[in-house]
Symmetry: C2
Subunit: 574 residues, 2 copies
C-alpha cells in the first residue's frame, strides 16, 4: 500500500519509525520534520560530550559507521524526506494535514498525511524562580545547549557549577563537570534523596556518599529559591532555602515533561500529566495518528498503571512498533518496567520496576530485602561488594522491583537485565530464587546476587528473618538513649568487632563470634532486644534463627549489614 | 518435626542442602559425609587457583568472611555433623541405612536416615587410551589434583602442556597455564569446534582465534590417540591422529559424567546417560531419597527434555530446593536453560538455551541470527564489538537460545542474564524485540544487543532478510570458482572497501557505498547473485531490501558482516 506518512520529531522515536516504515513499505512517502537543525542524536550521550569523553558533538549524531545523520543522510540513504528547522504548528484532523513553518524563512505550508506520528519528545521543567533567564543558566535538553555549556567550560570561563536537580541527568552532569574538568560542583535536590522515583533511599544514599567522596557537594532537601546575577548580568550563584552557593554556571535538571501541546490542541486524549494517551499499537485516540517516545505514557508491566518513562531505549522500541503498525504490521508494545542504569564516577547504579515508596503508594503490602554480596566469587581477586534492594509484595509474594549499586562495570546492568524480564512476567520471589543467572568466578557468584536477594526476601516473607530498618538503626546510633532496650550484637570476627566494642562499650555493642553462638548463647542478656550485626547480613540471620530456637526471641537483623552502613555518610564508625 | 537426614557429598549441593535443612528444622540431625578431606569448595575456581590469580587453595573453601569451611566449621557454626574421608558404600532402602567407611581407619558403620540426599557430583571422563596413568597426566576434577598441578608448575618442572578437551574447563586450564605461567600450551579437541554443545561454530571459532592470538595452539578435529612417556616414566607428549605434541604435563578435560553408582546399585531410577532421575522436588524414585547437583539430570525449560547441566550455580539451587522439601517446605525446581559464561584471556563468551545444532537435533525448524553490534553506545569511547547468535524456531517464532562473545567484562553476562528468563518463559522473537534492557551510553546501546539480535531474527523469519551462511561465504572466499555466479557487493565506505576491491578485483568484489545505492543501483550487473557485505550487516540488509524493491532479487546478506569475519581465523583479509 502506498501512503503518505508525516513524522513530527526527529530525535529517537521519530527517525526509528520513519526508516522502519520506509523499509517495510518502500512505495510510501515518509516526511520527517523537526524544529531543530540537529536531528537523530543520542541525547543520553550529552553528559559524556560535555565531560569531554566524547570529543565531538558530531559523534552523537553519527551512525556506528561514522555517517552524520543529517537531512541528506535520511534522504539519500533512507529515502525519507527530511525537513529540519521546521516547526509543526497545528494538526487538522478532518483535512488530515499538518501546518508547518520553516523557522528560517517563515514560510508556511500544509503537509497532508494518511498517517501521522507524533514523536515530539519532552521538554525540561524550568523552575518558576527569579533569575532563570540569566545568561549562564542552562537546561540540559538539547545538543545546542550541550555545545554552549561545553564551550563555556572549555574556554576556562567556568569555575563553579550549581546543578539543580538530583535526577539522573543532574548527577551525570555533576560528574561531567567535576571528573574531567575539575570544577567545583554543588548538586541541589529538593527531595530527601537523589534519583527520586528511580531508587529507594538506601541506594540513593550510597550514591550521595560516593558523589561527596568524589568532591561533589550534595545538598538534599534544599529547594532552589533564586538564581543570582552579578553586575554584568552573568549568573553568580544559586540561593536555596538553606544557603547561597557561588556558581558561574547553573544547570537546571529539574526533570522533563511530555511535549504534547500539538496533540492537546488537536483534541487528542492527553493524560493529566500531559502525556499523549496511546494504546499498545502506539495509536492515539485518533486512529490515523500515532505517538511514540518521551511524549507518551506507557503501561507499567508491574502495576498495570500508566507511567511516564522518558528513556531512549523505550523511545526506540515504541518508534519501531509505531512504524510497524503504520506500515500495516500489527505489532504491539505492551509496556515496560523502566529499566535504568547510570554511571557515577567509579560506581554504577540501576533499577527496574517499582521503588518501595512507589509500591506502597500503589497500595501494595510492600517490603524490601537489602543485601550486600560480593559481585563475583568472593575468592576471585577483583571481587567487590555491590548492594541490592529487592521490593516485593508480602501478600502475593510478587517481586515488584529491583535496584543495585556497585563498582563501575556491567555487573549491576547484568542483574537489572536479569530482573527486568522477570518483573515484566509478574514473577514471584520463588521465581527469582531459581532463575538461572550465568556463573563463573570472574563474573558472578554461584548464588547470584539476584538469587541471594530473593532468598532474603523469602526469609522475610516467611517470617524467618526479622529485620530492622537501616534508618532506625542509624537513628539509634545517633541517639542510643532513644532505645535503652536495644543492644548491638556483633557476630563478626573479633578483629572486626573489637573497635566497635571499644568505641561504644559492651553494654551497647556486644561481640559474640558467629561460630561461637551455639556454645555461648547463654552469656547473652535476656532483657534486651538484640540488634544483630555482621558484614552482609547472613551471619546475623543465621544467628537470629538459632537464638529463636533456643528461646531468645527479641532479635532484629541489620539486613545488608556493615557493608551497607560503611557506604553511607555516617560519622560514628571507629 | 525431628528427623535424621544423611547427605552424601559435600562440595556444593550437599552442604547447601544440609545447612538449609538445619536452618529450617533445627531439631533435626543432619549428617554430611564426603570421601574427600576437602569439602565445600568452589570447584569452578580451580583454573584461577592454578593460574595463580587465587594464591591459596584455602580461599576456595572459605566463606566470604574468611572462615575455612571444614568439618569443624560445619559442626560449630552450622550444627551439621560432618564426616570427611568417609565413603558411602551402599544404601539399604528397606532398613533406611547407609553403610559408610572411614577411609583412614577402614572402620565401617551404618548410618540410619529418615531422609537421604545424594549429592555425589560428577566424575571426569578418562579416555581409554594408552598412557593415561602416566605420572604427569591429570584430570581436573578436585582440589587435590589442582594443588598437585599448581605445585608442579610453580616448581618450574613444567614447560609444555597439552590439554585434551576444548570444553569450558579445557579452555580455562589452557588460559591458566599460558597467561600467568607462560607455558607452551596446546589444546586438542576431538570435535570440529571448541565448547561443543555450549555454543555454535561461529562463536567457537572466534574463541579459537582469540586463543591462538594469545599463543595457545588449538587443534580441532583431532583425537588423542596415546599419551607418551619418557625413560623415567614421566609423560613426554601426546600423540593425536594428526601429530605428536611434546608435553611434560597432560590435562585431561574430556568432560564429566554423573557419579551415580551408589544410586544405581540401590535400584533408583537412573537415566541412560547415568544421571539420577529426580522430579521437580529433587526427589528420586524413592520418596525418601533426594538427589541434587552434578549427579542428576534436569528439565530443559526450552525443549522440555532432560539434560545434564553440571554447573555450580544449578547445584546450589537444586541443593536448596532439596533441602526445603526434606525440611517439609514444598518448593520446586522446574529446570534450567544452562546459562553459561566464561572468561578466556581478554574475551568473555556465554550462552543460554539450545545451540542451533541441538535445536535442529531436537526437531525444531531452527535458524540463527548473527549480529555484531557495539557493546555500548557506539559514540562512547570504550565501545567495542561483541558478536551474538540467536537461535530461533521459524515455525513458532520462539527463541531457543542465545550466545555471545565479546570483550572481557560483564557485557556478555548482562545479555545472557537478560535472555535466560525469557528463554525459561518460552518467549518469542517479538518478546525479545521489546524486552527492556537498561540503557546508558557507558553500558549499552539504546537498541540493546538483545533487541538487535531479535530484530534480525524477525527480519529473517518474515523473509525480509535473506542471508548467506558465514561458512558458505568463507568457502567461497577460499575457492571463488566454486560459485562463478556470485559477486561480493561491499556497501561500506570506499576507504574500507577499496583494499578488498584491489585484492580481489571488481569482478569478484564490487564497491557501492550504502548511501549511493538508491542513485546508482542500475550500475549493478543483473546476471549475478550479489552477496552484500558491510561491517555489522545492517547496511547490507537495507541494501537488500531496496534492491528487491527495484527488482534485483538475487541477493544474500552476510549477517554479522566483516566484524565477524575479522574475528575468525581467515588468511585472505587484505
Amino acid at each position: 500500500m502506498k501512503q503518505k506518512v508525516v513524522v513530527i520529531g526527529a530525535v529517537a522515536a521519530g527517525p526509528k519509525a520513519a526508516v522502519r516504515i520506509k523499509r517495510l513499505q518502500a512505495e510510501s512517502e515518509v516526511v520527517l520534520i523537526d524544529q531543530d537543525t540537529y536531528i537523530s542524536y543520542g541525547g543520553c550521550g550529552i553528559p559524556y560530550y560535555v565531560s569531554g569523553d566524547i570529543p565531538d558533538e558530531k559523534e552523537l549524531r553519527s551512525t556506528s559507521f561514522h555517517m552524520v545523520r543529517d537531512e541528506r543522510f535520511f534522504e539519500k540513504a533512507k529515502g525519507v524526506t527530511t525537513m529540519t528547522g521546521t516547526r509543526a504548528l497545528a494538526i487538522d484532523r478532518q483535512q488530515k494535514t499538518v501546518l508547518v513553518e520553516n523557522l528560517k524563512t517563515g514560510e508556511q505550508q500544509q503537509l497532508s498525511y494518511d498517517k501521522l506520528l507524533l514523536a515530539t519528545g519532552s521538554e525540561p521543567v524550568v523552575l518558576p524562580i527569579p533569575g532563570v533567564d540569566l545568561p549562564g543558566v542552562f537546561t540540559v535538553n538539547d545538543l545546542h545547549k550541550a555545545i554552549a555549556i561545553k564551550d563555556l567550560i572549555a574556554k576556562g570561563r567556568i569555575g563553579k557549577v550549581a546543578v539543580i536537580g538530583g535526577g539522573a541527568i543532574g548527577v551525570e552532569m555533576a560528574e561531567a563537570c567535576k571528573d574531567l574538568w575539575g570544577l567545583e560542583v554543588a548538586l541541589v535536590e529538593f527531595k530527601e534523596q537523589l534519583l527520586p522515583n528511580l531508587v529507594d533511599w538506601e541506594m540513593a544514599e550510597i550514591l550521595a556518599k560516593h558523589l561527596r567522596d568524589n568532591g561533589v557537594d550534595v545538598y538534599l532537601q534544599e529547594g532552589a529559591v533564586e538564581i543570582l546575577g552579578n553586575e554584568d548580568g552573568w549568573v553568580r550563584g544559586l540561593r536555596t532555602n538553606q544557603r547561597t552557593i557561588e556558581a558561574d554556571l547553573v544547570l537546571m535538571a529539574a526533570g522533563v515533561r511530555p511535549r504534547s501541546i500539538l496533540a492537546r490542541e488537536a483534541g487528542l486524549n492527553v493524560s493529566r500529566g500531559g502525556a499523549i494517551v496511546v494504546n499498545e499499537h502506539m495509536q492515539t485516540s485518533d486512529p490515523d495518528i500515532y505517538a511514540a517516545g518521551d511524549c507518551v505514557e506507557i503501561t507499567s508491566l508491574v502495576s498495570g498503571s500508566k507511567f511516564f518513562a522518558p528513556l531512549g531505549s523505550l523511545a526506540n522500541k515504541e518508534g519501531r512498533v509505531a512504524g510497524d503498525n503504520i506500515a500495516g504490521i500489527p505489532s504491539v508494545f505492551k509496556g515496560g518496567v523502566g529499566s535504568f542504569i547510570m554511571k557515577a564516577f567509579e560506581m554504577s547504579i540501576g533499577s527496574a520496576g517499582l521503588t518501595l515508596a512507589a509500591a506502597r503508594a500503589a497500595g501494595y503490602d510492600a517490603d524490601l530485602s537489602l543485601t550486600s554480596p560480593s559481585d563475583r566469587a568472593h575468592f576471585y581477586p577483583t571481587q567487590a561488594i555491590a548492594c541490592f534492594l529487592l521490593v516485593f509484595d508480602r501478600r502475593t509474594r510478587r517481586v515488584l522491583g529491583m535496584q543495585g549499586i556497585g563498582p563501575m562495570g556491567e555487573g549491576i546492568l547484568a542483574r537489572i537485565n536479569g530482573a527486568a524480564p522477570l518483573l515484566c512476567a509478574g514473577a514471584a520471589i520463588e521465581d527469582f530464587n531459581n532463575i538461572e543467572m550465568a556463573y563463573s568466578p570472574p563474573f558472578s557468584a554461584a548464588i547470584d546476587s539476584i538469587n541471594a536477594a530473593s532468598y532474603v526476601a523469602e526469609n522475610i516473607c516467611d517470617g524467618r528473618m526479622r529485620k530492622i530498618d537501616i534508618r532506625d538503626f542509624l537513628a539509634f546510633m545517633e541517639n542510643p538513649d532513644s532505645r535503652p532496650d536495644w543492644l548491638l550484637l556483633d557476630v563478626r570476627h573479633p578483629r572486626e568487632a573489637e573497635p566497635f566494642v571499644e568505641q561504644f562499650g559492651s553494654d551497647r555493642w556486644l561481640a559474640l563470634p558467629y561460630d561461637e553462638v551455639r556454645e555461648r548463647y547463654r552469656e547473652l542478656p535476656n532483657d534486651k532486644t538484640l540488634v544483630i550485626v555482621c558484614n552482609a547480613g547472613s551471619r546475623s540471620y543465621e544467628t537470629q534463627l538459632y537464638l529463636r530456637q533456643v528461646g531468645i526471641e527479641r532479635t532484629l537483623v541489620l539486613a545488608g549489614g556493615m557493608n551497607v552502613v560503611r557506604r553511607l555518610s555516617v560519622d560514628w564508625l571507629p
